[in-house]
C-alpha cells in the first residue's frame, strides 16, 4: 500500500507530449529510462516554462507505448487496464500524474493492485473512472437522434468528458440496421456508423449553424411528428402531485437540456 518510491531525489523534469494516449505511454517509458519517477507529464497546451525545470519533448513511439501497455498485463485484467484509457479520456488536469504513478505502482508490485483502494492513486483512478463511466452512461441515455431525409439518424452532444470512443460499441450493437452520426460539438469530431463499422469523422463546416436551421431543413418528413409525439408522451407521464424538481435536476442537469428533444423549448 506504500506509494512512495525509495529513490527520493526531487525531480524537476517536465515531459511534454502530444495529447494522445500513445504519447502518454511513451512518456511513461521515457520516465523509466531516465528514472524520473516524479516527472510531470503535460500536454503542449498545458506546458509553461518553469525555473529549475528541465523540459523533455516526448516523441510518440508506438513500440515504446506498446511495451508499457503490455507490461501491465501479467498482473492485471484487460478490463482493469482499460481504466487507464477512461482516466485519460476524462481530460482532467491530474490525469497524467495519476496514470504515471498508477503504472509505476502496478509494475513494481508483483500482484494485481487494481483493487488496492487504500493506495492514493488506485483510489483516485477509481473515482475518475466512475465519473467518466457516469458520463458515458448519460450519453447512452441522452443522445437524441433526428432522422434526416436520407435516412441517417443524427445527434449532437456536448459531454463533460471525451466519451464518444466509449459509447461507439453500445450504439453499434443497438442500432445495427440504421445509419447514424453522433457529433461532439465541444471537441469538434463525431462518430458515424455506415451499417458496417463505426468511423471517426470531422466536419469541415461550422457545426454550430448546422445544429440549428439546416438540420431542421434536412429532416425526414416524419421527424417532426415523432418529436411532437415524444414531447406529448413525456408531459403525460408526469404525475403533478409528485412534483420533485430537485430530483429532476439531479438526474437531468440543465447543461444537457439543450440537446434533449423533450426539454427543448
Amino acid at each position: 500500500m506504500k506509494s512512495t518510491l525509495p529513490i527520493a531525489a526531487v525531480d524537476t523534469s517536465i515531459y511534454v507530449y502530444d495529447n494522445t494516449f500513445e504519447g502518454l505511454l511513451t512518456a511513461v517509458f521515457e520516465g523509466y529510462v531516465q528514472k524520473h519517477w516524479q516527472a510531470r507529464i503535460v500536454t503542449s497546451q498545458q506546458y509553461s516554462p518553469q525555473l529549475f525545470a528541465t523540459k523533455y519533448v516526448i516523441e510518440t513511439n508506438a513500440d515504446k507505448a506498446t511495451r508499457v501497455w503490455k507490461g501491465l498485463l501479467p498482473t492485471m485484467q484487460k478490463t482493469e487496464r482499460s481504466c487507464l484509457v477512461k482516466c485519460f479520456l476524462s481530460e482532467l488536469p491530474q490525469r497524467e500524474e495519476i496514470i504515471y504513478q498508477y503504472i509505476q505502482y502496478a509494475l513494481r508490485s508483483h500482484q494485481n493492485i487494481a483493487r488496492d483502494y487504500g493506495n492514493k492513486y488506485v483510489m483516485e483512478l477509481a473515482q475518475i473512472v466512475k465519473m467518466v463511466g457516469r458520463e458515458k452512461h448519460r450519453m447512452e441515455a441522452f443522445v437524441r437522434f433526428q432522422k434526416l431525409g436520407d435516412g441517417t439518424y443524427y445527434s449532437v452532444v456536448e459531454p463533460d468528458f471525451n466519451v464518444l470512443p466509449l459509447i461507439a460499441t453500445h450504439f453499434k450493437n443497438r442500432y445495427a440496421d440504421q445509419r447514424w452520426i453522433i457529433y461532439d460539438i465541444k471537441r469538434k469530431y463525431g462518430i458515424a456508423y455506415d451499417l458496417d463499422k463505426v468511423t471517426q469523422i470531422t466536419m469541415n463546416f461550422d457545426m454550430e449553424n448546422i445544429a440549428a436551421d439546416n438540420v431542421v431543413a434536412a429532416y425526414d418528413e416524419e421527424e417532426v411528428l415523432y418529436q411532437t409525439l415524444w414531447k406529448a408522451f413525456f408531459n403525460s407521464v408526469n404525475i403533478k402531485e409528485r412534483k420533485n424538481m430537485k430530483l429532476h435536476l439531479r438526474s437531468m442537469p440543465h447543461r444537457y437540456w439543450k440537446y434533449l428533444t423533450e426539454k427543448m423549448i
Partner: protein
C-alpha cells in the same frame, strides 16, 4: 396526427401510475443485425418533473375496462376520456421512439375489454409483431392479464422480456373492499404459472443452449401504499413472500395518489405518502442486497417502519450490542449492516483490506458516509470518542447532521420553546 397524439396523451396518462420502469436484467442480444439490444444494464433516457425516470414507452393499449376497482383511474364508473390504440399504432410508436434513442423499449398494459383472453391476445400480438416482423430486440414488458389462458401466457413469455401482474392491494381484505369483482387467487395464478415456466426454461437452457428464452427479465409486481390501511409489516411480509416463493425480480411500492372521491379511499388532495414509500423501498433493498431477513426489521413488536430514521439505522440503534464492527476483520455480512456503508463501499473495503489496514481517511475516500458510520465501526486512526454513546444520543447526533428533505417530519428533535 392529432388523433394519435390525443390517444397517446390519454393512454400514457392512464399508464403512469404503474411505477415499474426497469429495463435491465434481460439477455436479448442483437445477433441478427436487427434493431435493438437488451443485454446491458437498464438506461433511464429521461426524467419527468416528478423525478421519476422514463425508460420505456409506458402506455395502455386501451383504458376501456370492464372492472370497477376503486383505486384505479380507468375504472368503469369513472367519467374520463377513453381511447384505444391499434396494434399497428403501438408498433410504429415503439419502433420510431426506439430508433431515436428515446426509450429502452415498450411497457404495455391494458384495461380489460371484453375478457381476459381477448385483451391478452392483443398484447401478445404486438410483442410478436415487433419481434418477428421488425426484428426488434429491445425490451418488452407486458402485463399478464389474470384469467388469460396458459397458451397465451406461454406465448407472452416467448416474446416479452418481463411479465408482471399487479397485486395492487396488499391484503385480501383490502381487495374485497376496493375491488369486489376481483379475487386474489386469480391474480396469483398467472404469476405461479410463469414462475414454473421460467424455472423450467432455465433448466432446459442448461441442457440445450439454443432453447429460446422465456421472459428472461423475470416477473415483477406492484402494491399501492396507503389506500387500504395495511401496516408496513403486512406489506413487507407479502413482498418477501413474492421474492421467496415466486422468485420475482422486483416488487414496486406506489404511494397512493388520490384520484377519486370514493369514501373508501383517501380523499382527493390528501398527501401522497412519499416518506413511507421511501422507507418501504429502503427495506426492500435491505432484503435484496444487504442480507437482512424481513423479521429482523419488522415483527410483532415493530409493525411500522420508523419515519425519522431509515430502516438500516433503525435496526442498528435497536441492536447496539452488535457494534462496533471492525472494518479490517469483520465478515462482509456484518459490514453490510453498518449504517452509512453501501454495497459499493462494502465491495471496496473487502477488496482493499487484503492489501493493508484501512483507516478513517481510506473509508471517506471510498465514499463511506463516515459521519453516520463512525458510531458503529472500529478501524485505524479513529479519533478518540467517549464510550457512553446510547442509541438515543446517536440518533440525536445523526438527525442533527442530516439534511433530509423529509426533515420537517422528524419528531425526535428538541424543541427549544
Amino acid at each position: 396526427m392529432e388523433r394519435i397524439q390525443e390517444k397517446l396523451q390519454i393512454l400514457a396518462d392512464a399508464a403512469k401510475y404503474d411505477v415499474s420502469c426497469a429495463s435491465s436484467g434481460s439477455k436479448r442480444k442483437n445477433t441478427t443485425k436487427g434493431l435493438g439490444d437488451a443485454t446491458g444494464m437498464g438506461i433511464c433516457h429521461s426524467y419527468t418533473e416528478d423525478g421519476r425516470c422514463v425508460s420505456l414507452l409506458k402506455i395502455l393499449l386501451t383504458n376501456h375496462c370492464i372492472f370497477d376497482c376503486a383505486y384505479c383511474v380507468s375504472r368503469k364508473s369513472n367519467d374520463i376520456q377513453r381511447a384505444a390504440f391499434t396494434v399497428q399504432e403501438v408498433v410504429d410508436l415503439t419502433i420510431n421512439f426506439y430508433r431515436r434513442n428515446y426509450i429502452e423499449g415498450l411497457f404495455l398494459s391494458s384495461g380489460i375489454f371484453k375478457d381476459a383472453d381477448y385483451t391478452m391476445e392483443r398484447l401478445v400480438r404486438i410483442a410478436k409483431k415487433l419481434r418477428l416482423e421488425h426484428n426488434y430486440n429491445g425490451y418488452i414488458h407486458l402485463k399478464s392479464i389474470p384469467g388469460a389462458s396458459d397458451d397465451l401466457m406461454q406465448q407472452a413469455g416467448l416474446y416479452a422480456d418481463r411479465l408482471s401482474v399487479n397485486i395492487e392491494i396488499p391484503t385480501e381484505h383490502g381487495l374485497k373492499l376496493l375491488a369486489p369483482e376481483k379475487n386474489r387467487a386469480d391474480m396469483i395464478k398467472p404469476m405461479n404459472y410463469l414462475t414454473h415456466k421460467i424455472i423450467e426454461n432455465k433448466e432446459e437452457k442448461k441442457l440445450f443452449k439454443k432453447t429460446p428464452s422465456f421472459a428472461p427479465a423475470g416477473q415483477s409486481t406492484q402494491m399501492v401504499i396507503g389506500a387500504s390501511g395495511e401496516s408496513d409489516k403486512d406489506i413487507m411480509y407479502i413482498a418477501n413472500a413474492f421474492y421467496d416463493k415466486f422468485k420475482l425480480r422486483r416488487v414496486y411500492y406506489s404511494g397512493y395518489v388520490p384520484i377519486s372521491n370514493d369514501n373508501r379511499l383517501p380523499a382527493i388532495g390528501a398527501a401522497v405518502p412519499f416518506l413511507r414509500e421511501n422507507r418501504l423501498y429502503q427495506t426492500d433493498w435491505l432484503l435484496r442486497f444487504y442480507e437482512f431477513d424481513v423479521k429482523e426489521i419488522l415483527n410483532e413488536s415493530h409493525t411500522q417502519l420508523d419515519l425519522d430514521v431509515d430502516p438500516k439505522l433503525g435496526w442498528a440503534l435497536r441492536n447496539m450490542s452488535v457494534f462496533p464492527i471492525d472494518i479490517n476483520t469483520a465478515d462482509r455480512h456484518l459490514i453490510l449492516r453498518i449504517p452509512g456503508i453501501g454495497t459499493q463501499s462494502v465491495d471496496k473495503i473487502c477488496a482493499a483490506r487484503k492489501f493493508g489496514r484501512l483507516n478513517v481517511e481510506h473509508l471517506r475516500k471510498m465514499g463511506v458516509a463516515y459521519n453516520r458510520a463512525q458510531y458503529f465501526i472500529s478501524c485505524d486512526r479513529q479519533p478518540f470518542r467517549p464510550k457512553d454513546y446510547s442509541s438515543e444520543n446517536i440518533k440525536k447526533y445523526i438527525l442533527a447532521e442530516s439534511n433530509s428533505k423529509y426533515k420537517k417530519v422528524n419528531t425526535n428533535q428538541l424543541n427549544l420553546f
